[in-house]
Each structure stands twice: as structure tokens, then as C-alpha cells.
Symmetry: none
């Protein structure tokens, strides 16, 4: 079953508010095997609403509309929809009574504008709104022998969700005939195109209805989103499992997690599980590694703290980096980053000490060490490893990627240690 | 001028990611007097892309598309657009050279898939992508005697923004016929509704075409965006200046900057100007204060470094916080946060030492110190001040607001010292 999501609202078209409704609705519909083929936002005008409905019902079986059901004069959706279906608006006393009751329970007076909210296109079913004044509406009709469905809801996110959860989702479950399943695998340390080559065309391998999307980001690394489609739950699960196995076989060494996670969440779980602690010594990342580690609730169980050693005197006095190394090799060098990682481990008593030192940019590059040259190191009881990264020209991207890669370094060491 | 925003991407249709691009783009276009009449998201299929372009160009003069320009086989936008305009795809060696250069500078190999990114519909203009591999594209044509414009960009938000800011927005400015000017004043330390009361109805004061938007954010404080609209540049400039003066008169003591700035940028300029240095001692913010200070290019001139004192032993051993204060008052207390600020100043020799210690949440609250109880302190040669904030239940929001307020504390002290 195909769906279009239609949003009516000028406040979205001028960029004042983000359309968070459609992402939530799409997730819910997907879980029922209903494919969202299009999302459209239009303004509060009869012509725009008419045009969008015409296209929607020519391409989709289900149209869910939100917005424009409020009591003010810029809420024109119901009028426009009634005109589209050539229906009259009919006053329903029961809706008005519900609105009056709700408002009075909040100490507010009912106004003439609320009467407009009790108008319903003839023949439409009224869907109760458990928490607001504007009810949802539902209409079923046939076109060229195909059943078509229209659901209308207010645009206020928590009212929309309440109506969906209590009434529309249970109803839609009975209408769908396709099962769609997704899984996301998260990788770090490899680019989108190299990953694509490594994996090959998973669509060919798994057959029609399967898609693999590559979603890169400096905080997550490249996410691989696998989607499969089938007519039974069993077939879909089997196909998804087959695809996941294929991805792990081809790209397993780069995968750090599945689903909606981040490197710092995965590492945090591992540190807790093994009772290990961590501390940071940061130059070019300027505190961002500690910051991301401490974003995770409960991180005080394993994050002892860290030192932001931005100037050389802090590297020397607080981390014990030697003057000799700073003079001979410079702050952005393997000997210095190793001493930083070992120094923070010693100062805090953490199991893992991690360190970063690099040229974040935009200035400060030299022919030997251009912007994006970044050393990272990891020290534990077994020794210290250091790596040189060649990243970007952008300061913030460099901080973010370096943090992602450094955090993942600890995960790999921890897994190797406990294998 | 009317615009449609078209997003291509299955990841949005399944609800996995929120379409943040269109809100940002709509805001930018509005400021140029370009009206966004529709936003549409469709999947990566040739038919969907064809249909959406057909509708878009029948209703709008300008169509901006994002997504589907990456190197992998699920990126079909360019093919579909070429077919729509009945153009061939032409290989451009210069694009491929740029991609190779960019990837090699990151230590990555160029792959055959990247060659696909060098294909361009015949006659389309190539818009450079300053930070990624997929270039933007631009096409101008005439239909029924009306000029029409198509801009295409990758869907990765920071790449889209880079292309818009460096190339497309300046170009679109020359196409619009209304003069819209805007200025943003940034405030910290006061909420949206109190600020609105303080300022009064600026629209009435300045007349039609003027709007004042209140844009709250944990990183900036409440931004006041004043927009004026006129048919001549002179009239617009006069009106804008009048509005800015009004805002400074009413709310000047909360304003820390104008335009596109941040507390850490404003503070950085002041520290450089007065030759002062700063260092951080962070508990609940976990490195976020140092992180934001170090986001600013050139911050190594004034940021010496910091200590993330997440556990009490780091507070004692590295910052010199007394065992007695920790036992008697707890880590979230005035005596401890004062010792942290003084300790980091002493350890690093910085002119200003700033410190945070609080209950970030979601757990760890007590009846005495509920989640959101946060102490901040500032130490310099003249003494130490400390403040208790009562913030939110959300961990990330608490870290962000605390950082914003702490940074602004230094600005105020520095201004008072040098007044």
C-alpha cells in the first residue's frame, strides 16, 4: 500500500518550524509495511490543497493530512477538502460539546470560532482527539475500482500522535499487505565509495524490493541502511538476516554497531561491561572527545576526566610531555601524542588514556604538516599505539572525525583485549 | 518569485532522518523575498523525480533540489533530471580531478564510482562544492516566455549549506525584486517571553513589512531577528536602523552581539583585543566549554587549556579541590566550584579560570539538588564569583546552556574590568 503525507502550514514553508511530524508518521507507517512514496508541504490556500489532493489520490491509496484544522481564519483545510470531494460541511453538535467540555475543564471559554471546528464534510467519519479540540477525520471512497483512504489530523505534534496511536494506526494495520523491514549498520574508518565497492550490489544479491543506502556523517561514520520488502513477515525477516550477514561478511571489520547508536554509546556499554575506565588528553579536539563521551547518560561510571592541553606549557606541566620532544618533533607528532596518552593515564589512573594532537585548521598548516594532519594515540597497560590521520580543511569536521575515530580505537582495543 | 524545494531521498521517506535542509533553505530564501510555495520529498526513482519536476516547473520559477548526487548506485537524481530535460550526460574531467584531489588529500582512493559523479547533463553549469565530492548543478531555461531556474545540490546538510552560502544565495539575490534586509541581535540571560514584554510590539512601531522573530537556542541564547521589506534600498536601510536602535534601547543589557555570531566568538575577540587568556575546569559540562571555545579558529591565542574533572579524585588531584569541601558540601556546591575556577587559574596561569559543576541529568538528582541544579564560577586576579543556575531535565540542553552562560560571564567581567 502506498501513502502520501500532506502537511498544510505556512509556518513550515517559511522555515520557522521543522516538519517533525512526517518523520514520525513515516516511521510508524513503515512498520506496518505501508510505503510512504511522497511527502508534500503546501500553504493554507484552497487551490494548493486541491492540487495536492489530486496528485496524491492519483498515485497513492492512502493520504494522511495534518494541519489547518485549528479554529483561526487561516485554517482552511476542511473547507478545501470538502470542495475537493464535492461535499457540504455539516455542523455536528457532539463535536462542539466535546470542545466546550475540554475548554471548560481548562478554565477557558468556548468561542464562536470553535463552532467552525464542529463542521465536518458530509459522510466523513469523526475520529476523536483525546487531548485537543480539533477532531481527526476519516474518509473512504473508491476510484477506478480501488479503495482509497483519507485521514486528516491537526498539525500539533502531540495531538497528531495521540490520534494516530489511539485510532489510525490500529485501523491501518488491518489494511496493509506488505511487510517492510529495515536495519542500519554503522561503520567507521572507511569512505562511502570504498565501502560500496567492498560490498558490491546487494540489491542483485537479495533480489527486488531490497535497497541499501549509504548515509555518511562525521559523528556516526557511514551508516548502511538495508531495507527489504516481502509479503510475509517470515520472508522479510529471512531476507533481512541474509542481507545483514552479507554486510558483516564483506565489511565487518568496519562495523561498530547496529541500529540507532553512536561510537560513544557502543564504547560506553563495553567499558561498563568490562569495568574499565577512560581519560582524555586533547589538543586539537579541544575537549570534544570528553564532551561526546560525557553526552551519554551514566558516563560518569567510566569517564574519569581529561585534560585539554591546548598550549605547550599545559602539555608539559599537566601531562608530563617532555620539552625535548616538543622542540625536536613539534606538538603535532607521534612522540608527543604518545606521551599525552600515557600522561593522562598516569595522572588519572584510568585504564585507557586517549590523546589527539593535530592541525585542525583553517590556519597553522606547514608543507610538512598541512591542515588536517592529526595524530591520535591510545595507551593502556599493554602499551601505546599511535596513528596519523590526513583529514580535511575544515576545523569542525576535523574535530568531529578525529573524535569518532579516536573513540572507535578504544572499542577495537577493548574487543581485542577481551576476545 | 515562487520556489519549490524538492528533496530526493528514501531515508527521509522511511522516517529515518528528519528533513532539516528544507527549513534552513526556506529561511534563507524568505530573507531574499523568494516565496517557498511547496516542499516535496520523493524517492530515488526516475519516475518520481520526473513527476515532481513536471509539477514544480508548472507552478514555480525556481526549483531547488537536494539529494541523490552521491557516488553510489542508489543516487539516480542526475540521470532522471537529464532525461526530464532530454539531455545527455557528459563526462567532465575537471570534476573528476577535483574529486580525486579531495579524496587523496584525505588518504582515500578514488574509485570508478566517483567517475559517475563527474557526469553532468549537457549544458548545465557546474557549481563547485567547497567541501565534498558531489558538485552542485545549475540550469536556466525559458518556458512560455518565463525564465525558470533549477539548482541541484547534494543532500548532506553541511555540503548543501556550503554551496548555498558561497554560490547560490548570492546568485538568487540578483534575481529577486523586493529589498529585504535583516539583522539579528543576540541576547543571553533572559527568556523569550520576558524579552517580548520588554521590547513591545516593534511591528506597530516600524509599520507593515517589518517582522521581529524570537529564535531561542541553547547555544546562542534568544536571537532577535528583525526583517524589513521595502522597494528601495534606502527605505529598507532606514527602517532597519530605526528598529535596531529600538531593540538596543529596550534590551541592550542582554545583547552580546549582532549578526551571525556566538558567545565564544564575541568573547574570543575581546580576549585577543585585551591580550588575556582563559582556562576551564569542567565537571557537568564534560569538556563542552573548552570544546566550544576551541571551535573558533585562532582560539589557541587565548585558550590555554582545561581540565575535565568528572570524578572527585580528578577534582582533588588535578585541581586542588579540598577533600573537606567535597565531603561537607558535595561536588555540586559553591565552595567546590570556586576552588575549581581558582585551581585551574593557578595550574595554567590563565587570566580567567571558569568552572562548572552540576547535576546534568537525567539521573543523579536529589530533593536538595534536583536535576538541572548547576553551579558556575569565574576567577580572575580581582576575585571569584559563583552563581547557581536552575536549568532543565535534559542532559544535553543543560550542558549547552551552562556553557553559553559561563562564556558570557567572562565577557561581562572583561567589559566591566576594561570599562
Amino acid at each position: 500500500m502506498k501513502a502520501h503525507l500532506v502537511t498544510v502550514g505556512d509556518e513550515i514553508l517559511i522555515g520557522q518550524i521543522m516538519n517533525t511530524n512526517v518523520a514520525w508518521m513515516a516511521t510508524q507507517l513503515n512498520l506496518l509495511g505501508i510505503e510512504v512514496a511522497r511527502m508534500v508541504t503546501v500553504g493554507d490556500t484552497p487551490q494548493a490543497i486541491h492540487n495536492v489532493l489530486k496528485t496524491a489520490f492519483s498515485e497513492a491509496d492512502l493520504v494522511l493530512m495534518t494541519g489547518g484544522l485549528g479554529p483561526t481564519h487561516d485554517d482552511l483545510t476542511k473547507d478545501a477538502v470538502a470542495t475537493f470531494f464535492r461535499k457540504e460541511l455539516v455542523y455536528q453538535q457532539a463535536i462542539f460539546d466535546h470542545i466546550r467540555q475540554l475548554l471548560e475543564s481548562r478554565g477557558r471559554k468556548v468561542s464562536d470560532l470553535n463552532r467552525v471546528q464542529a463542521l465536518v464534510p458530509e459522510g466523513f467519519e469523526v475520529i476523536p482527539n483525546p487531548i485537543g479540540t480539533a477532531p481527526g477525520l476519516w474518509n473512504t471512497f473508491e476510484e477506478h475500482g480501488r479503495k482509497k483512504y483519507l485521514g486528516m489530523m491537526p498539525g500539533v505534534p502531540f495531538e497528531m500522535k495521540a490520534i494516530m496511536e489511539t485510532h489510525l494506526l490500529p485501523r491501518l494495520t488491518t489494511l496493509s499487505d506488505t511487510i517492510i523491514l529495515h536495519q542500519t549498520l554503522l561503520t567507521v574508518g572507511i569512505g562511502e565509495s570504498n565501502l560500496a565497492e567492498l560490498i558490491g550490489d546487494v540489491t542483485k544479491f537479495l533480489g527486488d524490493g531490497t535497497t541499501l543506502a549509504f548515509l555518511p556523517g562525521p559523528k556516526t561514520g557511514v551508516r548502511l541502511r538495508l531495507s527489504v520488502r516481502a509479503t510475509s513477515k517470515e520472508a522479510a525477516e529471512q531476507s533481512l538476516q541474509k542481507g545483514i550477514t552479507h554486510l558483516w561478511n564483506r565489511a565487518g571489520k568496519y562495523i561498530y554497531g547496529e541500529g540507532d547508536t553512536l561510537p560513544e554509546i557502543v564504547l560506553g556499554e563495553l567499558l561498563k561491561k568490562h569495568g574499565k575506565t577512560i581519560a582524555t588528553a586533547e589538543s586539537c579536539t579541544g575537549g570534544h572527545v570528553a564532551d561526546r563521551l560525557s553526552d551519554i547518560p551514566g558516563s560518569s561510571a567510566y569517564l574519569l576526566g581529561g585534560i585539554v592541553a591546548y598550549c605547550n606549557s599545559v602539555k608539559k606541566n599537566l601531562l608530563g610531555v617532555s620539552e625535548g620532544n616538543l622542540l625536536t618533533h613539534g606538538a603535532v607528532s607521534e612522540p608527543v601524542v604518545r606521551q599525552m596518552a600515557e600522561g593522562i593515564r598516569e595522572k588519572t589512573g584510568a585504564d585507557f588514556g586517549i590523546a589527539t594532537s593535530g592541525v585542525a585548521g583553517p590556519d597553522g598548516g606547514t608543507p610538512d604538516k598541512p591542515v588536517g594532519t592529526i595524530w591520535v594515540a591510545l595507551a593502556d597497560k599493554d602499551g601505546t599505539e599511535a596513528h596519523c590521520l590526513q583529514l580535511f580543511k575544515d576545523r569542525i569536521l576535523n574535530k568531529e572525525y578525529t573524535t569518532t575515530l579516536t573513540i572507535d580505537l578504544v572499542r577495537k582495543r577493548l574487543l581485542a583485549n577481551t576476545a
